[in-house]
């Protein structure tokens, strides 16, 4: 169980996230939705502690992870893997080494630094790559891959961490529709097959509805919606997205009678 208690983060005078409280049971697939700049990224980055909360507590199975430091913090980060919008791979290294980065917290320091991976580590990495149909490119350099392939490598890296939670920050925002599906299916597989809790930031409501068990809506740093996808009515969507609503809802029939003009751009 991951629990956020009144978590907030301030940048200067601006609260990017303000008093957010949610409880996520193990194995849930949670979509975090909201317009750009609403605070979705900051929320996820606080859970992984890439950003430290200015207020509130983050608990995992009763342990306060927002207070961890040093080796304990690194162990926590291994437990909650992160996937980024821009993939964040090391472009000059080959795919397999990139995936093996996910094992760093499992191996002694000198083995990691000298790249002395055990056969077991290699097997875990290759097994992950095979699950996402990219084992054939294990020897290629990461910067030679397409966006969809890179994101699958990043998800493989996250999986070999043996995480309990997967945090995905806009994982498909840089991808075309076909790759969007491939990548979202990969994340769904991790959730279904291994029971790993998933928190994913999504801009598109269609995707959020299609994949998530539960949606958390954020507007101006505050949690304004927290329910099953079916409960997300057009009026709630409008509150969440403002003028962007027509765009993210893809001109759904429910919107036009309310007098909202679909975006044409």
């Amino acid at each position: 169980m991951l629990e956020l208690q009144g978590v907030g983060r301030r940048f200067g005078n601006h609260w990017a996230v303000n008093a957010a409280s949610i409880k996520v049971p193990d194995g849930q697939f949670v979509g975090v939705i909201g317009r750009s700049g609403a605070g979705k990224s900051t929320l996820l980055r606080m859970i992984n502690r890439l950003v430290d909360p200015s207020a509130g507590r983050i608990l995992h199975d009763g342990r306060e992870v927002s207070a961890l430091r040093g080796a304990e913090l690194r162990r926590w980060r291994q437990t909650c893997a992160m996937v980024f919008q821009q993939f964040n791979l090391v472009g000059r290294l080959d795919v397999l080494t990139n995936v093996l980065m996910g094992r760093l917290n499992h191996v002694p320091l000198h083995r990691g630094l000298l790249r002395l991976w055990s056969d077991e580590d290699k097997a875990i990495a290759l097994s992950a790559l095979e699950q996402f149909d990219i084992a054939a490119i294990a020897a290629q350099r990461a910067d030679s891959l397409s966006g969809g392939q890179q994101q699958r490598v990043a998800i493989a890296r996250a999986l070999v961490q043996e995480p309990r939670i997967l945090l995905a920050d806009e994982p498909v925002a840089s991808l075309d529709p076909r790759n969007t599906r491939v990548v979202m299916d990969a994340i769904q597989r991790i959730n279904r097959h291994y029971g790993i809790t998933v928190l994913v930031n999504l801009h598109s409501l269609d995707l959020a509805r299609g994949y998530c068990d539960r949606l958390v809506g954020i507007a101006a740093g505050r949690v304004v919606f927290d329910d099953a996808p079916a409960a997300l009515t057009p009026s709630v969507a409008r509150e969440l997205y403002g003028l962007e609503a027509a765009e993210v809802l893809d001109g759904e029939a429910g919107l036009e009678p309310d007098g909202l003009v679909p975006a044409t751009a």
């Binding site: 990224s41 056969d119 077991e120 875990i124 043996e162 309990r164 291994y194 790993i196």
Partner: protein, 291 residues
């Protein structure tokens, strides 16, 4: 927790088939390990051979350290002598900074076009590229001190020779650094300019220059600081500045004055460093990536 280890157990169960399918990934990279070992061991061996060859011994170093201590003791407290001498020293220090500034600036101005000519990505001509690179190598191959000795014979003793010396050696360095900065730029921006109907010069002006200018400026600032130190050395051979006084005081064993001179040179270099760091962060822009 037993759930995460499902990943490990699954992989362990599939190890034989994975090993078969991806034999290359499991093969112990003996050749590469050997190459890495050689790449590290070779230079280390060379280092020890070199130390043996020049007869470097800890005993000699230890003995010499005592001497160093004696000099250090003679240097306290730093003393500049009479106020008239102080004025002369400060004037000489200003001259040194001026030599470094003028030398660096002229070198940068002259190297600017050379950098573009020597960049493979700007001038496609292989011959031009080769010749300009070799030209830059040649003038860089001659050290500032040698240039100073040459220019003293051409224009006579004094700071002018110093400026020319710094300029000559730095044209080579700047030319190389600039051309490498230009070659390392992202080409997409230039493509955008060309696609909009821009010509070759437009591509350089808008696709290249905004990317390389901050890099060039920060290199020039670093060289200004570094050349202030070099200008001290070339003063010793008579190319103007505080180096002449420093050499003189060492010759006459006036250690307290020597330490004073060293201290004001250090202060000047530190001041330039602080100023150039401030300028550099303004130019390059130390924006923090948004969270």
């Amino acid at each position: 927790m037993n759930r995460p280890s499902a990943i490990r157990a699954e992989a362990a169960a599939r190890l034989p088939e994975l090993r078969q399918r991806h034999a290359a990934q499991f093969a112990a990279p003996l050749g590469r390990r050997l190459a890495t070992g050689l790449a590290i061991g070779g230079p280390v061996l060379l280092l020890f051979f070199g130390l043996w060859w020049i007869d470097a011994s800890p005993a000699r170093l230890w003995h010499g350290l005592g001497q160093l201590g004696t000099f250090a003791a003679l240097m306290v407290p730093p003393d500049f002598g009479t106020p008239e001498r102080l004025q002369i020293y400060l004037h000489a220090l200003a001259e040194t900074v001026a030599i470094a500034f003028l030398g660096t600036l002229t070198a940068a101005i002259l190297a600017f076009p050379l950098g573009f000519i020597a960049a493979r990505t700007v001038v496609g001509q292989r011959v031009v590229h080769f010749l300009s690179r070799r030209f830059l190598d040649t003038i860089r191959g001659v050290d500032t001190l040698i240039w100073a000795l040459i220019w003293i014979n051409v224009v006579g003793l004094g700071p002018f020779a110093g400026v020319l010396a710094i300029m000559s050696s730095d044209i080579g360095s700047f030319g190389k650094l600039f051309s490498e900065a230009i070659e390392a730029t992202e080409r997409k921006a230039g493509e955008g300019v060309v696609a909009a109907g821009g010509g070759g010069l437009h591509r350089i002006r808008f696709g290249l220059l905004p990317q390389v200018l901050p890099v060039m400026l920060s290199q020039v600032l670093y060289y200004f600081e570094s050349n202030t130190r070099s200008a001290t050395i070339i003063g010793i051979v008579g190319a103007g500045g505080i180096g002449l006084h420093l050499a003189e005081q060492i010759r006459t064993l006036e250690w307290q004055t020597v330490s004073f001179l060293i201290l004001i040179i250090l202060a000047a270099v530190a001041l330039i460093d602080v100023l150039s760091t401030a300028l550099r962060s303004r130019i390059v822009g130390n924006r923090v990536a948004p969270a």
